[in-house]
């Protein structure tokens, strides 16, 4: 599996789409977490986060600010990353070229998962780094205190962010294997993440109690709950403390393992056409 991991990592690093997704993630995170709220604060305008004011932009909130986007909009980018990493082999017909070199299907898939784990960890670390830089700048400009989170809090935040990001990437990878392609898995993944989850949370759950209960077992609400437990603002889309942080981490781990196992079983069983 080591050879597959190295090959997959090389492909990920050399693929322009990987860097484009990272760039979009960084721009979105900076824009909606720091730039726009700071512009609102500096201009004295009201808004969803106006009551939090400057405090929401300072280093003390780094953990919550850095992982707050992962339950929905940054999660969508992770789904795309997962689909591209796994589904590209179907789109380009390269499974046959890979497998005729000798590796087993499971070792190649294991290599893909390991590369995705590393890529999502790298992405989360970058989000923390740019968040740290942005909050430090805000603190310096406003002469506000720069109280950084402890190393333990940072580690927990990065770990939680990685769990959410990797879970969404594995979701994308599983969709790619099940649907054997790229376009449809991305489309359906985004529909689930951006539309269905919101409809369930905003329309169905308030009306139907069983939907409200069902939400506690779904990946999106658990990702939002984990982010909320670590300090993400509750007015961020998808962030809502429906369950405790520990339970959310457990459920997300279950989904991560489940998506990986489902995809591995399908890939192993099916013909490569």
């Amino acid at each position: 599996m080591w050879n597959s991991f190295v090959a997959e990592s090389y492909k990920l690093v050399r693929r322009p789409a990987t860097w484009l997704l990272l760039a979009i993630a960084v721009v979105l995170a900076l824009l909606f977490t720091y730039v726009i709220p700071y512009a609102g604060y500096a201009g004295g305008t009201g808004g969803p986060r106006a009551d939090l004011g400057l405090a929401a932009l300072l280093p003390a909130k780094l953990v919550g600010n850095s992982i707050g986007g992962l339950p929905v909009f940054l999660g969508a980018l992770m789904v795309i990353l997962g689909v591209l990493t796994v589904g590209g082999e179907y789109g380009w017909g390269t499974w046959k070229t890979v497998l005729t070199q000798g590796p087993s299907r499971l070792s190649v898939f294991g290599g893909k998962l390991a590369a995705l784990a590393l890529a999502t960890l790298g992405g989360v670390v970058v989000l923390f780094a740019v968040g740290a830089a942005a909050s430090a700048i805000v603190a310096a400009v406003e002469n506000a205190p720069a109280d950084w989170p402890s190393i333990l809090d940072l580690a927990a935040g990065i770990g939680a962010g990685w769990l959410i990001a990797f879970m969404w990437a594995a979701f994308g990878g599983a969709l790619a294997v099940l649907l054997r392609g790229v376009a449809l898995p991305i489309g359906l993944g985004l529909v689930w993440l951006l539309a269905v989850q919101n409809l369930l949370a905003l329309l169905a759950a308030p009306l139907l109690d069983w939907v409200a209960q069902l939400q506690k077992g779904l990946p999106g609400p658990n990702a939002g709950s984990l982010a909320a437990a670590l300090g993400s603002a509750s007015d961020t889309p998808g962030v809502q403390g429906l369950v405790g942080g520990g339970q959310a981490a457990l459920v997300l781990s279950g989904y991560l393992v489940g998506f990986c196992a489902l995809a591995a079983a399908a890939l192993r069983r099916r013909d490569i056409l």
Binding site: N3, S4, Y10, K96, T97, L99, G102, P103, D271, I272
Partner: protein, 304 residues
């Protein structure tokens, strides 16, 4: 141990039978031509050999192991080349060498073998169809295989490229590499292969050497009047050895009887305009083997 052994190999997709009860053996060191029209089941068979698709029934052994498990010394190009468009040809090969645990030093060697060394740094997306095909063969050669499985390797190549590819396959065969070559081009198989298996509608119709398939050489005689020539020929060599094929006679006799037959015909007043040794080509053989089930439409495809 034979590099490839299939017994009663069958693949069904629902009610469609792609390959049925196929017995096929490729011997060590030979260049084996797997011949058949488009859709006959060639690629499906090769995919089963490589473990890409699972047989519905039957057994496959590659280097004595089940499909997928015995690929250590096997290189393959199946149904056209497939690579990552954002990487160069060389980087693509580096990636595939890594998957197979092959030394990176092989990359430049195989690029040189397929005459792509000068373009190895260019992005795969910019390659012509022929260059892509050659890169596919290069990937198949990465592991310095003892068994090479090539599915229509000359597709997309210009005439010079096709000649180069055939030359490369012949060199590999001469160097002891076993080659299983699938093709729908009769001329290609005839030029390169030691033995041929003909597949039609998923069934192996025949398996033999090219020479045996062609049969014993005979004589082809163009003469006038033809009917009188035929009567004289029947008297000379026996009625069973004479057949009329359009404006000519095909005689199933040793070619060294040409002078004797020519003299008899001329002496009897028959004008002989041509008399020469005649071998059946694979096209005729294929037509004969498959005409009962499929007619001549496949022969038109096979002429390529």
């Amino acid at each position: 141990m034979e590099p490839v052994v299939c017994e009663n190999l069958t693949k069904r997709y629902g009610s469609v039978v792609a390959v049925q009860d196929l017995d096929l053996t490729v011997r060590a060191g030979e260049v084996y031509g797997f011949l058949g029209p488009n859709g006959a089941g060639k690629t499906t068979t090769l995919r089963m050999l490589l473990g890409l698709i699972r047989p519905t029934a039957g057994e496959v052994l590659v280097n004595g192991l089940p499909p997928g498990a015995g690929l250590a010394g096997v290189g393959a190009l199946i149904e056209g080349p497939a690579f990552y468009p954002y990487l160069s040809g060389r980087d693509n090969l580096r990636v595939f060498a890594r998957y197979g645990g092959t030394a990176a030093a092989r990359v430049d060697l195989v690029l040189d073998l397929v005459d792509l060394a000068g373009r190895g740094g260019d992005k795969y997306a910019t390659y012509s169809l022929g260059m892509k095909q050659r890169l596919g063969v290069a990937a198949a050669l990465l592991k310095d295989p003892r068994l090479l499985i090539l599915d229509e390797p000359t597709n997309g190549l210009d005439p010079a490229g096709m000649a180069d590819m055939r030359s490369l396959i012949r060199r590999l065969g001469a160097a002891g590499c076993t080659v299983l070559l699938s093709s729908h081009l009769l001329g290609e198989v005839e030029q390169i292969c030691d033995r041929v298996g003909i597949i039609s509608r998923g069934r192996l119709v025949t398996e033999s050497t090219v020479a045996d398939l062609r049969g014993t050489a005979g004589l082809r005689v163009v003469a006038s009047p033809l009917e009188e020539a035929a009567q004289l020929a029947r008297a000379l060599v026996g009625a069973a050895s004479v057949s009329v094929d359009g404006p000519a006679l095909d005689l199933s006799v040793a070619p060294d009887r040409a002078a004797e037959i020519n003299a008899k015909l001329v002496t009897a007043g028959v004008a002989v305009s041509e008399i020469r040794p005649h071998e059946r080509d694979l096209e005729e053989v294929f037509f004969q083997m498959t005409s009962d089930e499929e007619g001549s439409s496949h022969v038109e495809q096979l002429r390529g």
